[in-house]
Assembly symmetry: C2
Homo-oligomer: 207 residues x 2
């Protein structure tokens, strides 16, 4: 369920404002989706609301946290400490909600030993041991494209269960490993595509 985190964030905000109950309609508004979809998603995870009233916010937060696995800690390792890796290492949003960065790894010997926050950059050769010792569950790849597949292979071999890939290339992993990718250049190109086409549509309209 790819929308659960959206609901989660909206629910957290409401809980902070000590809102007691929420209707599917309100939640849909905050998450930017359809109300029926909200109800279906929530019914799927079995947490029941009360008809005529809505959902209990606190209860729902607990249910969704549990479903998302945010009740336990997820040790994260970042591989590749260029600009992006640095920003990720410093990013506070990462540390919240159980995602703890426990290792920074880079292949460049010049970077090894550099401190960022509480952590020291370690060599990529130690990746296997690092993942094993610190029970790293999620690997973040922020290397150049050329290194991404190799890093992914190492992460998988070391036993990581999930990978978040920022490198601008296709990475393949075994089925039992989850992979998500974030590609900034592609996002821009998609926007450019739509804008290009809006412009063409306008041109045609003006003829």
């Amino acid at each position: 369920m790819v929308r659960l985190p959206l609901y989660y964030r909206a629910l957290i905000e409401m809980a902070d404002r000590t809102v007691g109950t929420v209707s599917s309609e309100q939640l849909a508004e905050l998450a930017g989706v359809n109300a029926a979809k909200v109800r279906k998603d929530l019914s799927y995870l079995g947490s029941y609301g009360t008809r005529g009233v809505g959902y209990d916010v606190d209860h729902l937060v607990r249910e969704v946290s549990r479903e998302l696995g945010l009740t336990r800690d997820w040790p994260v390792a970042i591989v590749g400490l260029g600009n992006l890796g640095h920003a990720l290492a410093d990013y506070r949003g990462f540390g919240e909600r159980g995602f703890q960065i426990v290792a920074l790894v880079d292949a460049d010997p010049a970077k090894v030993g550099e401190r960022i926050g509480d952590l020291t950059i370690e060599p990529v050769e130690d990746l296997d041991q690092i993942v094993g010792d610190r029970r790293v569950a999620i690997g973040v790849i922020a290397t150049p494209a050329a290194a991404a597949q190799d890093v992914a292979d190492r992460l998988v071999a070391a036993g990581v269960g999930s990978i978040l890939n920022f490198a601008p290339t296709v990475v393949v992993v075994p089925d039992e490993v989850s992979l998500r990718k974030v590609d900034l250049a592609i996002e821009l190109q998609i926007l450019s595509f739509y804008q290009q086409h809006r412009r063409r549509a306008l041109d045609r309209a003006h003829v």
Copy 2:
């Protein structure tokens, strides 16, 4: 067509290696998708391949560039120069293929005037004029969540056609403006969700 950028990147790589023609199967392999999908996507944009041979790489690169709107320049403004904004401003992948960062904007007076690369951070109050003067087409929001909607409204009012939102919140824009979002915390939560569920499935199997 959300997959076009994937093909584009693969094609660029092949062109660099002076590959003459490519089959849908090869392209599918490189882009990590199904071959029939590749053919449908390409046929949709009318650029014909030759049966029995494949597609001419150079020709296809030109067609896809045109379709993606990469033949013209897209001026980009980044709003919010925290860690992420800094990384984006420095990110080389952005500058490639016609996306040129022409302005850095921040609401914090302490940051205004700071230089990053060739650019100087400017105050958010000037956003309207900046967008107009430099014909900014794409706005990148890298502010805290609380400021995102306000920045988006300003960008839209100033005439931006597309927005890429990195702030962890839902932003609403008029229909005629394209909006895409990248949310790092949500990506991690989705991974955690899948990993959590794999773990439960395994537990059940072990009983």
